[in-house]
């Protein structure tokens, strides 16, 4: 078997080696300047933003609906009508309870101040992103700042703003792996620390004595305690002194198109 020999010309090989070293050094300098200087980093967002907005508008358009079969559309409509009918009753009960709650708080002198929120379109979300982060189309132009809370479906806290650019911002999700958050669990109002495990899921480690069951509601401690999660599973072994409570957010982040930022 004959293999092609390397070039025997020393000058050619030296020239190629110098070229490779120069290119590698150039790449390292560029990488260093990207890490060190924010305006250089923002160039990536400058190129990405129009493509993300284009992708978002195509995904949200009704163009592809023209290609669906007629029967599929009829079936979908019937299923949605049924869901709407069932949801109507729940909504009425919910409204009554909310009104009663507001009246009681008013009597006790704790009327909720309405938070000012800004609607944001999600440009990039999991699973496109490898991290549990959302990229939103509002930034300092809408007075967004680091630490502002992000809510979905009107009242479910899902994350916080972590980075703000002139026309975009990034929010980390509370369910990011390793993130910890103080929550209140179940009817007994047990305070616990929820740890994110990704994909809208959390776990809590509690002593066995604490009574928890599937379906218990979890809220963030506040005067306006909105639902943060619902217990899905409680795991423990007979000899364990602790139990692991697994719960998930009622919001499926990968299906969201809009969120609100509390500014």
């Amino acid at each position: 078997m004959n293999y092609l020999l390397k070039s025997s010309n020393f000058e050619d090989r030296q020239k190629n080696a110098r070229k490779k070293v120069a290119v590698t050094a150039g790449i390292l300098i560029l990488a260093g300047s990207i890490i060190a200087f924010t305006p250089v980093r923002n160039i990536f967002f400058l190129f990405s933003e129009p493509l993300w907005k284009l992708e978002s508008s195509i995904a949200g358009s009704s163009f592809f609906e023209y290609f669906k079969a007629k029967q599929t559309l009829i079936n979908e409509r019937q299923a949605m009508e049924q869901k709407l009918f069932l949801a109507g009753d729940l909504l009425a009960v919910n409204e009554n309870l909310k009104t009663e709650n507001d009246n009681l708080k008013d009597l006790l002198g704790r009327k909720d101040p309405k938070d000012k929120t800004v609607l944001a379109t999600i440009l990039v979300k999991p699973p496109q992103t490898p991290y549990d982060m959302l990229t939103l189309d509002i930034g300092t132009d809408h007075n967004v700042k680091v630490g502002d809370k992000v809510i979905a479906n009107g009242n479910v806290y899902i994350g916080e703003i972590s980075e703000v650019l002139p026309k975009m911002s990034k929010a980390f999700l509370y369910s990011s792996p390793g993130r910890k958050l103080s929550v209140v669990l179940g009817a007994g109002s047990v305070t616990a620390e929820a740890v994110g495990i990704g994909g809208g899921n959390f776990n809590i480690l509690l002593p066995r004595e604490v009574e928890v069951k599937e379906g218990d509601v979890i809220v963030i401690p506040a005067i306006n305690s909105n639902v943060f999660g619902i217990v899905e599973q409680v795991n423990f072994k007979d000899k364990d002194s602790f139990q692991t409570v697994l719960f998930k957010s009622p919001v499926n982040v990968s299906e969201l198109s809009f969120v609100e930022v509390i500014i």
Binding site: L4, I34, F47, L51, M133
Partner: protein, 88 residues
């Protein structure tokens, strides 16, 4: 040279619009298709900046893709030496 530029542009677009695992597969494919692809590190950095909770504090967890691509690049130097496709 033109092929190199086209592949770079393809990977750039893939970082922005495709899921991250598509970008990784494409990056590995291009790395082993081209003889010299050191700019892979820049694409890793780009993914960390665009999608991560990026800071300038040089915390390793903020640079997962950068570090992963550096490891891929360094390992490719060793692997390519042992593959006859790259002998010249």
């Amino acid at each position: 040279m033109l092929k190199h530029i086209i592949l770079d542009a393809l990977l750039f677009i893939s970082v922005i619009i495709c899921p991250w695992w598509v970008t990784v597969i494409l990056a590995v494919g291009i790395l082993y298709h081209l003889r010299f692809f050191n700019e892979l590190v820049l694409f890793g950095l780009m993914m960390d900046i665009l999608y991560g909770n990026f800071t300038s504090n040089l915390h390793p967890l903020d640079y997962k893709f950068t570090i992963f691509f550096i490891v891929l690049l360094l390992s490719s130097f060793l692997i390519k030496k042992r593959l006859k496709f790259y002998s010249k």
